[in-house]
Amino acid sequence: MRSKDKIAYFYDGDVGNVYFGPSHPMKPHRLCMTHHLVLSYELHNKMEIYRPHKAYPVELAQFHSADYVEFLNRITPDTQALFSNEMVKYNLGEDCPVFENLFEFCQIYAGGTIDAARRLNNQLCDIAINWAGGLHHAKKCEASGFCYVNDLVLGILELLKHHARVLYIDIDVHHGDGVEEAFYFTDRVMTVSFHKYGDMFFPGTGDLKDVGEREGKFYAINVPLKDGIDDTSFCRLFKLVITKVVETYQPGAIVLQCGADSLAGDRLGCFNLSIEGHAACVRLVKNLNLPLLVTGGGGYTKENVARCWTVETGILLDAELPDEIPENDYIKYFAPDYSLKIPSGPMENLNSKSYLNSIRQQVHENLRSIQHSPSVQLQEVPPDFYIPDFDEDEQNPDERVNRHKKDKQIQRDDEYYAGDNDNDHIMDDA
């Protein structure tokens, strides 16, 4: 078992009172609730907590266009009426309203991710957390989906100064389009996004067939999912895809966007994951033992966001938290059970096993097409994931199957294990 990881956690007290506007679902107050809950569980005593520097415009312009950054810096709610053309050009005003202290908010959350990347580069920590970051929709020249500055792209660009290859994983219910688009042409970043796709769900990209272009071809992976995916299906697919990706791509560092809108009961989301399932993905990535940058993202039911990211902070710290939430100023938000568990309603999982299998097959097929470095041989990948006509999840992998069944089913022997460190119960469930 590897020695305990050193964690750097970033938080700025000014985010709690950032307000997008009445009825806007993005509520930075959730960050304040998360931080409060993290402290209630005494987790601050297991890590170092930093206040990030506020990212300078020149740092934001490492990715974004200078005129867009300048506009974000200058525009205020009172003057926006005078700049209607620019507001349209930069996609501001509706999903991405202009509010007081907007630019400062961007500087804080971007600064957090950039500082996190720098600490990792300097090997001052093994894992760095910035729950305020993860705003993955922002584009080079425009805002999108409540995101103004893409802190993930900036953080990845920072990591690329020290690592040849960076892996980006996104478990927000929305496609990580901003990050994918930014790195669509390069093989130095592999982007993997698990998201709802179809029914004109925002943002509309994220098709399985979008794999990247030019040097970046096959370095973008999209896992399009339907409504109602549950823990078992999601975690299994996540594990199979990510372990294969890491094995093939061998990144130097990983950036993990943990959007909590993929949880059941989210105001904008449509998946049926419990916090356990969501957190199991975080645990799996942590157990890969690579430098890891963890950010927040979506999440529009604020008490569930606080629960989720607190549990995940615990996981990153190897601290298993009891469900009973300790007394704290926001305890009322966690009624009626005052528990870390969230209720998941009966929701039909529209993702059939054959659908998920076909996605997996395609992803593996795409991965076979890349060879990340000449010194590592392309591994022989046996044919796997034959579409079964029985319920795979009810099978016991330890049970001997007869010849007839075996012919129908081809599975790798080590499918259910990801090396020594896998003690993940959900992943092993079969």
Partner: protein, 413 residues
Amino acid sequence: MANRGLFNSGDGWVFVLSSSDDEYVNGEENNGGTENFGEQRNGVEGGNDDDMEMKTSVVDEGLASRKRKQECCSGMLDWIIKVAKNPCDPTIGSLPEVDKWKSYGCDLLWKQVLLVRDTMLIRRNANSSSLQTNLQKKQKMHPSLYDDRKVSETLRCSERLLSAKNSHNKSHDRIGVESLSSVSHSDEDCADEQSNSKADSVGFAGNFHRKKKIPLGPLFQADVPEFCGEAYEIDYKWLGTRIWPLEKQEQNKNLIERDPIGRGRQESCGCQFPRSLECVKFHVAEKRRKVKLELSSAFYKWKFNWMGEEVALSWIKEDENKFQDIVKSNCLSSEKYFWDELFKFFPRKDREALVNYYYNVFLLRRRGYQNRKDANNIDSDDEESEFGPVGNRFGRKAANSPGSIFCTPKKSR
């Protein structure tokens, strides 16, 4: 002359909404209907005074026909609403198989729903294709598509209600989900075919999807330099300012009893009335005191002094009452929004202070009230129902452009 409206369905049917019969008529009868309509129109184009009369009567009939169309539609609407409210109602019944739909008449409400949806989809396609380029970049969803009350939402409604209805039994045919499977999300197809069919088809189920393209070019992609080896100059600037653990000189010399890491809420306490309001208040206050002692300067740097109901201590009672009154009296008004009023009434308080009070005192107290009233049926994010229509940002217009991330249907818990 009967008042008629023409609807063009995707598979070549022209059907006519007849006011007198209150039903859709299909197939051969359309020719008759179409001709009548044609004649009516031709009649209008001739003459003078006769024209005026004709025009007036046509206009009147037009208005009347719209009204009657509404009456016809209202029967269908009522049915949709009924089904949406209780999809498991046994009186609703189930659909026949997809390939048999054409043999059913338009007197059946479910058939009407399908036809209307299909028609609207054709219209939407016709409109969207001309705006393709613009839309590709700024594809947005219209929020009304998720409003359960309107006719134009039959698409979404029927998908949802039918998928909810058929959670266990795959043998029932389903409008939304089944057609989804057969057209664009076929479970049996491999993923390649699936996205191909999705790209261009407009299925009867209507889950059409024009694939959104990823923009390429210097305005979109990041500049990623070549990796030049691991020579990386360690840069100690801008790594964040450490707030915790405290610096040595600041570390607390006093004895503090720390709770163990990862400790949850205790089952029992020594209070006279455990779990009462007073008990909870006491333990929350006690915890806060401990945290303050332990965190020292970090408590203020993290703005813990701005968290929780203690924030109310810095407000006078009169101001608190004013705040409450303003929010409550503006909650149902569509014209005024309470934030505008709050700013007016509290010119000396800055925005941050008002927002802070709102989240830490007002909402918390409201949540406490909800907890006591009906703990299992709470949505603490549900500001809209109490505080006015959706999407107002400090008095500005609601988001109503299509493709907004903001516009997704509200989930029931």
